[in-house]
Amino acid sequence: MKTSFILSASESIRDAILNHESELESLDRAIGDGDHYINMKRGAAAITELHAELAALTADAALNKIGLKLLSTIGGASGPLLASFFMSMAKVLKEKNDDTTTTYAAAFATGVEAIQQRGKAGLGEKTMLDVLIPVAQQFSTLASANTEINAICYALMQTAEEGMLATKTLIATKGRAAGLGERAIGHIDPGAKSCQLMINAVCNQVLSSQH
């Protein structure tokens, strides 16, 4: 993976977050405490400020740096969760040190595992993991079957959207909405929504770089 790709992907992620301000805010006001958009925006802005510094690093070092920056900027629960994701992903890239789709899939899966461990949460608890776990599984399956990269991207975007929409009917057992019980039903989880937006942004970045 090239560091330049990480930089352009992080710009796409920032734009995706900024373009969904009102949606993310209203989702979080409904079942959270209304600060999810502000926290994500603060994180994205901190990464943008870091671009010059990141550009000089290898891809794994850049991802690790992004993790550390998010850790010290976002706070709350999202900070450590996203930081764990990027820092674990960086570790896999550094160890494998190659440029294959299976390595990326393994790095992604390791990052998602780190979120599960840090948050002590799993599938079906109305969190970001309802998007990330199915995406990680599908990414690994498709990568080991040597599926062509564009097809992988389309499939992952589809799976991310389905996972995000599925949180609407769930009762939350982890995260901010866990105290609401049945009152959380009917609302999409804001963390699942922002993860779906980020996956979409990165996949679209991959697709456009193929042309």
Partner: protein, 329 residues
């Protein structure tokens, strides 16, 4: 919203600067990253560090000093601090006997302190406080929340650390005090987070929130307002259910104000609560009444009971010198 504010973004730093300057003999403020330490580094002891979202003053910075904390890391209002703050604080106060983190049980705090502990270049342990018996699942976490009982944990562990005890001994006392402590709060009004500008929840003049958390998060249920004795009776019953103390138990009773309830009412609550616990055969031999773990400008109070044994009594009674607690020294 009517508050003493210059600029919303400066509220925290201006308040901490005032705190550090008012108590310059006790504490020192570091602004980047944000943490406070004792004015004079204590040698040869386990370093005790706590922290959490701001808005609970005097928790935690008010408990920095002899016999309690070595450092505190304040986050934004009601938002966990970040690991860089904890690492810098640990670097500043460690004295080769390890670091003990005292952390209130909320998902964000737990994760940030956990990551700091993993990145720390020296030995550490963590005591998680979870004294709030109001709810099993709350808006902020799975499991009981850490509330005013945290002050008792910080006091006892702090005094033990002062005696030169090792890390695991300090952690064990913290866990013991936590397991023998239960709290429950009642809100009469909401609080207003400065950056939000409006009350966190709506509550009418004839209602109370039973079991409220220290961020204004919901508790057991919304109930009609009634006379003080009836409210205190319900809280005392919940605490007795949670602790199931043997009759003849000796206990510390803490009545904690949430920020906008006068001491006059807190002592009225103490009067009823101590009578009710005594009727259950509990001997209240230690007490603390005042604003020790607040929720900004919320009106309301929490009741905390800590079951004492000889060890807890010894370290509760030991000298302490901090901005918010001081005796024996």
């Amino acid at each position: 919203m009517k508050k003493f504010i210059n600029k919303i973004d400066d509220v925290l730093i201006e308040s901490l600067s005032g705190f550090a300057s008012a108590h310059h003999d006790l504490v020192e403020l570091n602004t980047d990253p944000l943490f406070l330490t004792r004015q004079h580094k204590a040698p040869n002891k386990v370093a005790i560090i706590s922290g959490g979202g701001s808005g609970h003053e005097p928790l935690h910075a008010g408990y920095i000093g002899y016999g309690m904390l070595d450092a505190a890391c304040p986050g934004h209002v009601f938002t966990s601090p970040t690991p860089d703050q904890m690492l810098a604080a640990a670097e500043a106060v460690h004295a080769d006997k390890g670091i003990l983190f005292i952390v209130k049980n909320y998902a964000g705090d737990v994760m940030n302190f956990e990551m700091a502990a993993e990145m720390l270049p020296f030995e550490s342990a963590t005591v998680l406080t979870s004294d709030d018996c109001a709810v099993i699942n709350s808006t902020y976490t799975t499991g009981r929340r850490g509330v005013a009982g945290t002050v008792i944990v910080e006091k006892c562990v702090g005094s033990l650390a002062e005696s030169g005890a090792d890390l695991q001994t300090c952690k064990a006392l913290g866990d013991k005090v936590n397991s023998r402590t239960a709290s429950m709060g009642v809100a009469l009004t909401s609080c207003t987070v400065p950056a939000a500008g409006r009350p966190t929840f709506d509550i009418s003049d004839n209602e109370l929130e039973m079991g409220v958390g220290i961020h204004g998060e919901p508790g057991r249920k919304r109930e009609p307002m009634r006379e003080a004795d009836a409210i205190v009776q319900d809280v005392v019953s919940a605490i007795l259910d949670a602790l199931k103390p043997a009759s003849d138990s000796e206990a510390l009773l803490l009545i904690n104000g949430f920020g906008a309830t006068p001491l006059m009412e807190l002592y009225l609550i103490y009067n009823t609560a101590s009578r009710l616990f005594t009727e259950h055969g509990i001997k209240i031999t230690r007490s603390l009444v005042g604003n020790y773990t607040t929720a900004l400008d919320m009106a309301g109070a929490s009741i905390t009971l800590c079951l004492l044994d000889e060890e807890i009594k010894q370290y509760w009674d030991s000298p302490v010198h901090t901005a918010a607690l001081r005796w024996g020294r």
